[in-house]
Amino acid sequence: MSAEQTHLNDPAPLATRSASPWGRWGIRSAAVIYLGFIVVLPLSAILRNGLGGGLAAFWSDILNPTAFAALKLTLTMAVIVTLINAVMGTLTAYVLVRYPFPGRGLFNTIIDMPFAIPTLVTGVMLVALYGPQRTLGAWLTSHGIQVIFATPGVVLALLVITYPFVIRTVQPVLMETERGQEEAAYTLGASKWTTFRRVVLPAISPAIITGSLLSFARALGEFGSVVVVAGNIPGRTLTAPVYVYGQIESQNQRGASSMSILLLGLSFALILLVEWMQSRKDTGHVAI
């Protein structure tokens, strides 16, 4: 009787009992060994290879003109794409949540398309549409706009690849915010734009930032679609991941490692930032 009562009062011992110590240790070791082999070991190999020659060698690899131009291009493209995504993603999420229109369900499904379609296929698709021999591509070229094998192609490819991120982070937050506040502000005479800026935007801005950071991180590492559309001209349309690929193919392992470490560090820092922001938001919810 008393034993039963302690069980009822204190769920902790029950939970610890749920798996036998052998099972617990077995699963824990499986998880640790698997991650160690699949993630930690390869990462340490690349860190050792890139930083083994000292920091001076690492920076000289990064500051070599071709490498630096590639890095600069990748960062510029990622910033442009992220800004466009922040605006268009927010608009699309707003439309999807607030305005019922025919075909909305289908539209909502199509948004995940870039997550499902192989990135290389995305690149081939863009070449099929904007390639210089195609109707639209030829028309654009005759008007002095080159898309494929130029930077506009890179921007387009990255826009397709990162399309869902902002929409999918803003959408659920927008669904939770009450429409009543918006209507109240509007009824009291605030313009649509003021209502959006003063009432809606403050509620969804953390989600916009989260989605933008995720799409930035994704744009930094994108390879499959970019390698097809960019033309990969060193110093002009060669992005950092494609530069890494070129270095691997020409057996310059340290150069490849150095650039990889920089890209990897940047993306990982961004992803940790996003996780931190989300965990902060979660605790905020609990507190309220």
Binding site: A19, E178, P241, I271
Partner: protein, 308 residues
């Protein structure tokens, strides 16, 4: 109208009428407000349709137009050219290899992903935070870099090459390398989808089954698995989709020997190099069609996960 909404409207109305709080004036105000918004009706409807058009046209231009172009391009030389490209020996064997590798990577990541998700949710163990960070690593690593790491480990002067050579296994430029690369890049999905669902399952149910004499495996099978199944299937389908479409990592480690280590994406890559555009377009259409099927499955599982 929800209570808080009504309350909010009431307080806002109060402010607007400078302290007039009688019920009748409130109703009047609300009616007035609705009247005003009705007056604004046509213009706000125009505004609404402009926003909808922008969103739809942007999506159509970015996602649908290229899709139409590629279907068009793959049929440029007729349906027979399309069919002969897709059914060529190279194409078929690449497709088979893609499916085998994706299925293998999905299976392994599902088994270990469940273990890792369990450790993250249930195991009060000091290394949990580190594990949580490591799980995100594959999302941060560019696929090319993922493949490159395998070369550093298993390539000619790699850390582990002497071990694999002693065992008689060739990893890089062979199938084990492709499998490892695919496993790496699709690792987080099952974990990230199962963990939140698993944290909703009450551990007391598992304890109850255990106390009543069920083995841990039986407990998992009859109690835990039914509760997490939709989240698990969602994660599995995402893993498979990602594994099928991988190019960067596979390109670096495969060596691209046609009919031996060439996946479908590598087949497309080689066709582009050979200026075989019809072949590249045709295989792209096949992969895109398959992605659509997977996407429908993904959406189905996602909806089920959200419902439960």
């Amino acid at each position: 109208m929800s209570q808080s909404e009504a309350l909010l409207r009431a307080t806002e109305a109060e402010g607007a009428t400078q302290g007039e709080t009688s019920g009748s004036s409130l109703t009047a105000l609300r009616l007035g407000g609705e009247g005003r918004s009705r007056k604004r009706g046509p213009s706000s409807r125009v505004f609404e349709s402009i926003l909808i058009s922008i969103a739809v046209l942007y999506a159509a231009g970015l996602l649908i137009a290229p899709l139409v172009a590629i279907v068009w391009g793959s049929l440029a030389e007729g349906i027979n050219a399309f069919a002969s490209q897709v059914t060529s020996a190279d194409a078929l064997s690449s497709f088979k290899l893609t499916l085998i590798m994706a299925a293998g990577a999905t299976l392994i990541n599902t088994v270990f992903g469940l273990c890792i998700a369990w450790v993250l949710v249930r195991d009060k163990f000091w290394g949990r935070r580190i594990i949580n960070g490591l799980v995100d690593m594959p999302f941060a690593v560019s696929p090319v870099i993922a493949g490159f790491m395998l070369i550093l480990l298993f390539g000619r002067t790699g850390w582990l090459t002497h071990i694999t050579e002693a065992l008689g296994i060739k990893v890089v430029f062979a199938l084990p390398g492709i499998l490892l690369a695919t496993i790496f890049i699709s690792l987080p999905f099952v974990i990230r989808e199962v963990a939140p669902v698993l944290s909703q399952v009450n551990p007391d149910q598992e304890s109850a089954a255990h106390t009543m004499g069920a083995s841990p495996l039986q407990t998992f099978w009859h109690v835990t698995l039914p509760a997490i199944r939709w989240g698990l299937l969602y994660g599995v389908s995402l893993t498979f989709a990602r594994a099928v479409g991988e190019i960067g990592a596979v390109l670096v480690v495969s060596g691209g020997v046609s009919r031996l280590t060439e996946t479908s994406t590598l087949f497309i890559f080689r066709s582009l190099d050979d200026r075989n555009y019809v072949g590249a377009n045709a295989m792209s259409v096949v992969l895109a069609a398959m992605s659509f099927l997977i996407l429908i499955v993904i959406e189905f599982f996602k909806k089920r996960t959200e419902e439960h």
